[in-house]
């Protein structure tokens, strides 16, 4: 249903989400996942999710003496969400590339990077679509801890969908290669699975150093917080505060 009036970036996103870009036929012809389109999409969709997350600070400080801090927090969150995903990719991609090269994987440097970028776009599209739920709870929730935990859960859901896309596409690539009689190259399936764990751990810790995303309504605006503690300790602390 891609109407002719649909702008090309939206049509591109639509095709990607529907899996039209990663059908077996397309893969057999050679996968095309243009980074020139996907990097702006990461910023657009991540910005949309970041705006939903930053809404909490805006709503809680609105009309008060700290209203400017709320606006700053919203803008910061819009930049921080895409930055979180891109920076995590930059930190973890070299290891994936090295592992892949060591086992003689089929996908080259650029193809791997483009596939991962496409997975990020899928992840952030799901996250952005969960934004309305976040905004809805923002309007009625005073508890900062609840909002932080809700963000963790929603981003986890988005991450799972993005990973499912990644693994499904990898399987199709392996199938396509098998059909073409290429038995030499490794699919790198196992490596991707191990790498996902690395990516996840780096990702949560990256989120930890980039915080605050939601912004504590009582705290003055600061781009970053002191580097102490860890993501997991933070989650437990927020769970504890939920009941106090």
């Amino acid at each position: 249903m891609s109407a002719p009036s649909m702008p090309s970036w939206l049509a591109n996103l639509d095709d990607l989400l529907r899996g039209k870009r990663t059908t077996r036929d397309r893969i057999a012809e050679g996968l095309v996942l243009p980074w020139q389109v996907h990097i702006p999409l990461v910023f657009l969709l991540g910005g949309a999710y970041g705006a939903s997350a930053g809404c909490f600070a805006l709503v809680r400080t609105w009309g008060g003496p700290n209203a400017a801090d709320g606006v700053k927090q919203l803008l910061a969150a819009m930049l921080k969400v895409p930055a979180l995903f891109i920076l995590t990719l930059i930190v973890t991609f070299p290891s994936l590339y090295v592992f892949n090269a060591l086992v003689g994987a089929r996908l080259g440097f650029r193809a791997t990077l483009e596939l991962l970028l496409a997975s990020l776009v899928v992840t952030l599209a799901v996250a952005a679509s969960l934004g309305p739920i976040l905004v809805f709870f923002t309007l009625s929730t005073e508890s900062y801890a609840f909002m932080v935990l809700l963000n963790v859960v929603l981003l986890a859901i988005a991450g799972i969908v993005g990973l499912a896309f990644l693994l499904k596409t990898l399987r199709k690539i392996a199938d396509a290669a098998a059909m073409a009689g290429d038995v030499e190259g490794a699919s790198g399936d196992t490596i991707f699975r191990v790498w996902i764990i690395i990516y996840g751990l780096v990702g949560v810790q990256m989120a930890w150093i980039l915080r605050p995303f939601v912004g504590h309504p009582a705290a003055p605006f600061g781009l970053f917080r002191d580097r102490q503690g860890s993501f997991f300790a933070g989650v437990i602390e927020n769970l504890r505060q939920l009941v106090n």
């Binding site: 679509s129 309305p132 739920i133 929730t141 969908v161 939920l242």
Partner: protein, 234 residues
């Protein structure tokens, strides 16, 4: 066109209810073909949800009725459709993107119809039980028992809606098993948001000791935190 005879009106109502039932419009019995049970448009489905929901809401608002409190009937009649429609709107973007990402975007129309049919079934069940709630009110129960009765009726309607949802999704699931996950996603998202939405839209059954208001005067709070505190304080 002349006005429909009572008999025809009844048949139309019957057809409408069947259209949101477990078989949906596909039931090819004699009765169905006679009453031309056919697929409801999304607009008709929405109209049904709003009308039936408002009917129940109006009855729900008659607790401890006296003319000075008649606005409560109007408020509750507005709030039940608002609860259902607004919750759907909040969850719909995520449901749409999840369906797309799961590769079943072409089925989205059917999935949406299944979901709205389940909501239609929910509201017609409520409307059907409206006389029951009014009867319970007339037996002179207190506010707490009135809340409990409504809670039980909502639970019953939720079960009916689940049955319809499963039945409507059966064909989709048979075609592609990913629809099971998507249906579960919808139920989780919808339930999560609906609880909070209902909490924000309180009161549905006005407490006779409190003045008549559309919403509670205190600012919005979070339902889940309120529940957690309730559990931990005891």
């Amino acid at each position: 066109m002349s006005r429909a005879s009572p008999n025809l009106a009844l048949h139309r109502l019957d057809a409408l209810l069947r259209a949101v039932g477990i078989h949906g419009p596909d039931l090819s019995t004699d009765f169905a073909s006679r009453t031309s049970t056919r697929s409801l448009s999304l607009r008709d489905l929405l109209l049904l949800i709003v009308t039936a929901g408002a009917c129940y809401g109006a009855c729900m608002g008659t607790f401890a009725y006296e003319p000075a409190r008649s606005m409560l009937m109007l408020y509750s009649a507005m709030k039940i459709p608002i609860l259902i429609v607004l919750t759907t709107l909040v969850c719909l973007p995520a449901f749409f993107v999840l369906n797309t990402a799961a590769g079943v975007r072409d089925d989205f129309g059917k999935a949406l119809r299944a979901v709205l049919s389940a909501q239609g079934a929910f509201t017609v069940t409520l409307a059907g039980l409206a006389p029951v709630v009014m009867f319970i009110y007339t037996t002179g129960v207190n506010h707490r028992f009135a809340l409990l009765t409504n809670g039980a009726i909502f639970l019953g309607a939720t079960i009916v809606a689940q049955v319809v949802l499963w039945a409507r999704y059966r064909r989709l699931i048979a075609a592609n098993r990913v629809h099971i996950t998507l249906m579960a996603c919808w139920m989780l998202l919808y339930g999560f948001v609906a609880v909070q939405m209902a909490w924000m839209l309180r009161p549905f059954v006005g407490d006779p000791a409190k003045p008549v208001t559309f919403l509670r005067e205190e600012p919005f709070t979070n339902a889940y935190i309120a529940m957690l505190k309730l559990v931990l304080q005891n």
